[in-house]
Point group: C2
Chain length 569, copies 2
């Protein structure tokens, strides 16, 4: 039986550790800059692959990620499993009823956003095949069809993530964007399945084209009708008669791999089957939230990073960078997608800002482009230069979609008061024992922290006191949030103190404040003060959270409680 040697196992495990570690690290960093994690995860591969590590220290790159022998085969197997499971999760996010309710606008915007980029890219793809880096296995038809699909498809997971981050997901515009993106996704995937089926015999598939296409259509139809009901019944039965969640997780994995194997055998790639099975699974009302979360989190944070990081290992992003090609792909896909969506949205009644919002939302590409690009590269449909151009296009559109959407809607991310605090503005135990000296103590801490140059502690104390005299800031439940607006400071600073005995802030419920949050905000920005106050109030409504804040051992633990209190998952 073929297997790996001791040394190869060491390499495989070390490679996995380094890949996941680097990918998650850069993913977190991306998030810190307000970007989707997938961007950081892709950069991890660029860092570890031929582009940077391979150029600077080829021996290290080859030792960790050898090109020949069993290790790359095992890694290929693992990434195949990873992408299959990732598509399962993506499918689970699709809500068939949402898209059905908004089917008119979804179809219109979805089609509009595909047609224009396809129209724009077809002439250059047809006439400049070589410059556009067609691969050795490409024909006129398959190449044009693939490039058209690649510039036309939106990335549902990225779109959904951006909408959730901006708290737009459940709004009218949000749901419209999601429905259009789902439609777009499905059509895009079918187009791509067609491309692969057209190439079928080339990569070893034995089925003739018409059989492959017919069977794919049958599979999709059966899976989304009879199959969907069957999955729902099966989960209901498992919940009643088998172990939970063990049986459901086993069922999900089995179904995913069997469907993936089936569509791969059909010649339309494994990910298609996993995606369709994911739709059927996610649609079941018997799938419990805890089980959904287990699959979602494990796959999103362990498997997906492995997959996205290995992409960068394949290609040299500097050596294969072709500025002209990158610009052409980027411009045509963005202009086409945004233009097509705006026109289509306007036609269905989303005028003005809302239309632009839908269009910018739909412009996010990401995971799917890259996955399709990688497949195309593997089967010899495109070359390295085109692959690099597609990845860069996906990255740039993903990075710009959120900020553009925010700008056109005048939306901003929710403010969190602790983003303006830190260990140096945190007094675990206040010395002072009455309101006025507590205010002075916190004001001094804020000034001493150096967060704002030349902050005048006395002026802050006076302003906060004046505010207290008009309206006491004890909000009850043992929390007080005195606040002061100061002229000429560039950004807010927040000082937080705790008092074991409690300080009288004249709260309505008569309780002394054991948690005091002093908000110092720019005089010029009254709205920011309101939003910070709302952020404190939101956390402090939760009495359990306040109790844990009072018990936290240090600033790190304090921060963890705050983060947790607003976490979605």
């Amino acid at each position: 039986m073929s297997s790996m040697s001791h040394g190869e196992i060491v390499t495989l495990l070390a490679a996995l550790g380094v890949l996941i570690g680097t990918a998650r690290l850069l993913g977190e960093l991306a998030r810190r800059f307000g970007q989707p994690a997938v961007i950081g995860e892709l950069f991890a591969g660029i860092l570890l692959g031929p582009t940077i590590l391979g150029a600077a220290w080829p021996q290290a790159s080859e030792a960790l990620f050898p090109h020949d022998g069993p290790v790359p085969v095992a890694l290929h197997g693992l990434t195949t499993v990873a992408i299959t499971l990732f598509l399962l999760v993506a499918g689970m996010e699709v809500d068939l009823s949402t898209i059905w309710r908004r089917r008119i606008v979804a179809v219109t915007v979805g089609l509009g956003g595909m047609l224009l980029p396809i129209i724009l890219i077809t002439p250059p793809a047809f006439f400049f095949k070589t410059w556009m880096d067609a691969g050795p296995e490409a024909t006129d038809l398959t190449f044009v069809l693939f490039i058209a699909t690649a510039v036309a498809i939106s990335a549902l997971p990225v779109v959904a993530k951006i909408l959730i981050d901006l708290q737009l997901f459940k709004t009218d515009i949000g749901m419209t964007i999601v429905a259009a993106a789902v439609f777009n996704d499905i059509v895009g995937r079918i187009l791509f399945a067609l491309v692969l089926a057209l190439m079928g015999p080339l990569h070893g598939g034995g089925l003739p084209l018409w059989q492959s296409l017919a069977l794919t259509a049958v599979f999709m139809t059966v899976a989304l009708t009879v199959g969907r009901v069957g999955v729902d019944r099966a989960l209901g039965w498992l919940n009643a008669h088998a172990s939970v969640p063990g049986s459901v997780l086993g069922f999900a994995a089995t179904g995913t791999f069997i469907c993936a194997a089936f569509t791969e055998w059909l010649g339309v790639h494994a990910i298609f089957g996993a995606f369709i099975f994911g739709i059927a699974l996610g649609d079941s009302r018997h799938l419990r939230p805890g089980t959904r979360q287990t699959i979602d989190q494990f796959v999103s944070f362990i498997f997906a990073p492995i997959f996205f990081a290995t992409i960068g290992l394949r290609v040299d992003f500097v050596g294969s960078f072709d500025l002209g090609l990158v610009l052409l792909v980027l411009i045509i896909s963005t202009v086409g997608k945004v233009g097509g969506c705006v026109l289509a949205a306007r036609w269905t009644g989303f005028g003005g800002r809302d239309g632009w919002a839908v269009a910018f939302g739909m412009n996010a590409r990401g995971a799917m482009e890259i996955i399709l690009g990688l497949l195309a590269l593997e089967v010899g449909l495109i070359g390295d230069r085109m692959f690099v151009a597609l990845v860069i296009m996906a990255l740039v559109t993903s990075m710009t979609s959120g900020p553009l959407l925010q700008r056109v809607l005048g939306r901003t991310k929710p403010v969190r008061f602790w983003d303006f605090a830190g260990s140096r503005t945190f007094a675990p135990t206040l010395h002072a024992s009455d309101r006025d000296t507590v205010l002075a103590e916190l004001a001094n801490i804020a000034a001493a922290s150096g967060k704002i140059e030349g902050l005048d502690a006395e002026a802050v104390t006076a302003a906060a006191l004046a505010r207290e005299r008009i309206l006491p800031s004890g909000v009850g439940h043992g929390v007080a949030l005195p606040h002061a607006r100061m002229p000429g400071i560039p950004q807010p600073v927040v000082a937080i103190g705790r008092s074991a005995r409690g300080i009288d802030f004249d709260a309505r419920d008569g309780q002394p404040a054991r948690l005091v949050v002093l908000l110092i905000t720019p005089l010029e920005n009254p709205e920011l003060q309101l939003r910070l106050l709302a952020s404190v109030a939101q956390v402090c409504q939760n009495e359990a959270a306040v109790a844990r804040l009072l018990a936290a051992a240090d600033w790190t633990e304090f921060l963890a409680v705050l983060n947790e209190s607003t976490a979605h998952a």
Copy 2:
């Protein structure tokens, strides 16, 4: 770059789907018979491998699980990842403080249970090497040391699972068994690391023995002291400053693979590093229950089945079955383990039944024996016959440990009233509208179900009514549980009815009963009636559960709510 072809990907995905599906199916079946799931998962491999499928239909077995080429390499990579992650989860279950508090008894029982089997097995292993099926790479020292380790080690995960199932985990005896099993586990693993290190140069490791051992000792010490604190700090920091649970999951996977790669490089196998990292991770108070659950469930129900099922693919369990060897290994390991533990337990003050309980609890082997046996097989330390004997020994001791423990303590598994009900004893909507006719209706349903031959509905109604007159059975919250004890019936039967308008069962809170559970139990077994009543009461204390029971569309959904209401995880 070496990779897999289209056809090979189909094979890999299909093999994974079939493996997980069969393993989980047989695992559920094992659970149904009160056995640990791992037993069914192992049988899945025996079914799919050379023993059964390979003998009956060699072409199918070879098509799905080919012996050569990239597919077995990819499967080997995947099972390596699977077993590494499984050991992470096993390590997370170890509670260092528990073992520390019971260190005297844990060390005594742990050592007693190892010494006696080692003493008993050493003479045959030394004098009858060939008959005991020593592998080509075995020396006197490594073979004896390995066989001694293999018969001496208990399986912590199996032990813990049995104790949880019997609701003994948090009792004095339960904690003693767990502490001794943890100690046993750690010593056993160190012994095995020693065996591998002694063989080191044979399987390609470059480190001399003394370096390998010294570095292992340093790694263990550092990981469990400085490393443990470091992991705890890191998780605290990630909770406060990074995304949750994404950063923690990434951290856990990275740490696991890096530690696994390191110990594999040392020559003591990857699982050791993963296990030690798991202890450090599981020990952190910053690891949130949700994240722990995500890792635990995904690994236990998707990866572990893959691993355990592939074991059966390697060996022909019929062709390599050697009755003499199986009996020798089974008898020595059981007699030695149970005898050693009883003596040691008695010495530390666990006399009589408790001592036997500890010993039977410790006799459960399972996962670890099999994992070590597989490694020994791979490095040529033992042959197929010995491997089969070890697996059968592990299976038999795992299957008998729970029943023996139950018998010696007079414990029984908790009774669930719905185990005596079914769709034929369930009336979604009762026709009757007063107490007496409802009792008659339910009694008729119970009789008509055929669950008990010749059950007399009128006698049941009369007995239940007589009971009602003495003490009304409306327990409030809209639930009534009339009951009747009948002479000469072999087992209980439970009829369940729902009434939308509600039926007056004279409950203290005045509410009419909308859920009526009629318990018919053998007259001769008053204790069983009490336990069934307790089982109904436990579910019906939970008002939300009652509401969902009333809303359930059919018996399957009704059952799902009941199962869920008592699920642990």
